[in-house]
Symmetry: C2
């Protein structure tokens, strides 16, 4: 299961009662954070999560509202006793940006590893996270991220018995390991069924609507997307600023095949005082859309988990 928490729903600047948009995920004791604006570390604590298990930080782009909280977060991770390396993924130049910001966070008890994205689509496997970074269209180079959690097939105990595989090998085979027992080799494929449906989450902010987002959002358990403006007459403003309206985001979800199970909207303009008033409007376009508030959480589970 994958714990998911939308830490904030703001764009441009943090507001009282509206943190900047960022996502905290937790899987098998490892946490992954997408973006880290000013105040994100407070939002993490507010939602009862911790800094120490954050193994991966994905940065969408280098606008301040998506990365300004980084020095404080790094120091707080150190204060919580992290010593294991942290991997930071971001557009080309992410190491330069992070190292510049670290002028006020120089001494950390852990190493930072960087993965700089240069392609339109890249896939990265870290721990149990299968990460796909995909380039979107904003006013600066920006990536969306899809997280997938794979799931192995079912173990067939009857088959294992029929093949006389000793019980002590069942567990390693279930975990995908091959076993050599003298001259005999046991392969997982001998006892494991076909891979089962895993979990898929796609996160996209900031961007205009582009095809790659629709493709990534397809068949998602959860699609999280910016909806900078609710007002229909702000479509031109959204276009000029490289953002999208809530209705444009809902249209992406509606046109994805298969459609995502849920859409969470986020990254509201500071001028948008009451985003929820557009809930009805976006539901008319995609009925599983949620105009989120800070701290919205869910647990994504495997189908029969």
């Amino acid at each position: 299961m994958l714990d998911v928490c939308l830490l904030g729903t703001g764009g441009t600047m943090p507001l009282k009662n509206r943190w900047l948009t960022a996502l905290y995920c937790r899987l098998n004791g490892s946490s992954l954070l997408i973006d880290c604006g000013e105040g994100t570390q407070i939002a993490i604590k507010e939602n009862q999560f911790t800094f120490k298990p954050i193994d991966v930080l994905c940065i969408t782009h280098f606008h301040a509202d998506h990365i300004s909280g980084l020095p404080g977060l790094l120091l707080s991770m150190g204060n919580e006793g992290r010593t294991e390396p942290l991997t930071i993924i971001g557009p080309k130049g992410v190491s330069y940006i992070v190292n510049s910001l670290r002028v006020i966070a120089q001494e950390l008890p852990f190493e930072i590893k960087f993965i700089e994205l240069t392609q339109n689509i890249e896939t990265i496997q870290i721990k149990d996270y299968n990460i796909t970074a995909f380039k979107v269209r904003h006013t600066t180079i920006t990536y969306g991220y899809t997280l997938q959690v794979n799931r192995l097939g079912k173990f067939d105990a009857d088959k294992a018995k029929a093949l006389n595989i000793p019980v002590r090998f069942w567990n390693p085979l279930q975990k995908g390991n091959s076993i050599c027992d003298g001259d005999v080799v046991y392969e997982p494929s001998m006892v494991m069924g076909p891979a089962r449906r895993g979990l898929k989450l796609t996160y996209c902010t900031d961007s205009r609507p582009v095809d790659i987002i629709t493709k990534q959002a397809a068949d998602c358990d959860l699609f999280i997307c910016e909806g900078m403006y609710g007002e229909q007459d702000k479509t031109d403003t959204a276009r000029e600023k490289g953002h999208m309206t809530m209705v444009e985001a809902a249209s992406i979800a509606a046109s994805a095949k298969p459609q995502p199970a849920q859409l969470w909207l986020t990254h509201y303009s500071p001028s948008l005082y009451n985003p929820e008033e557009y809930q009805k409007l976006v539901r008319a376009v995609f009925d599983k859309a949620y105009v989120c508030r800070d701290g919205k959480q869910t647990v994504l589970r495997f189908i029969d988990e």
Copy 2:
């Protein structure tokens, strides 16, 4: 009159309901900010102040909790339409630190002027602020700041009449300007009484107790000082970390001659859940001490204003 607001009272990291320590002052339409940690811009808004009039930013030192909010603040000042230059005062290296942090806030509609402190004591006059920066003792180079607002003497109308000074020159003379009227020169000293008591505020965090703080705190209308720990058994910890306890801060106020009119304590360790429980203890040392909460405000007024 000088409006004063202690925006936050936290040290080390921002917490829910406890912003990092920073001070917002307002005088004759111009604002001055001391320190700018993560979240300071939210605290400014929360207290109904604005970013645009901030003419001066004084940085005590380069630990993240005192400067990490800077890129966000600069961008928000720009978004509010500031075009006038901003002066940033701080220890030597402040331009390097600020410019490094500006990697995510490169395009601003206003210029930044830097004043880099190199002496143990320096005085700077900007607008109506007389600023004294004084070096204190922390784990890195750190300055405290005294703000003074001078007050001219009283205008003596009887004297002006007796000297036959035309009424149209009274106002410029009151403002300290000399007037040439043909061959006749009128000087302010001809009609102005001796300078009257102005306003004085001293701000110090982070530091061990040192003599210069006591000297600066003398005769203050308001002395704001760190009190990182309330517990008496934390004096050694405070010494090791270059901080002071609340009682140490109160002792400074008590030994200043003349004593400051008020002491506000701030910059509490995140481990200090309820700073107010030490109010009695510090009052036993200095009876005009306040263990402050975020957003504590006052207006300092001239004696007969």
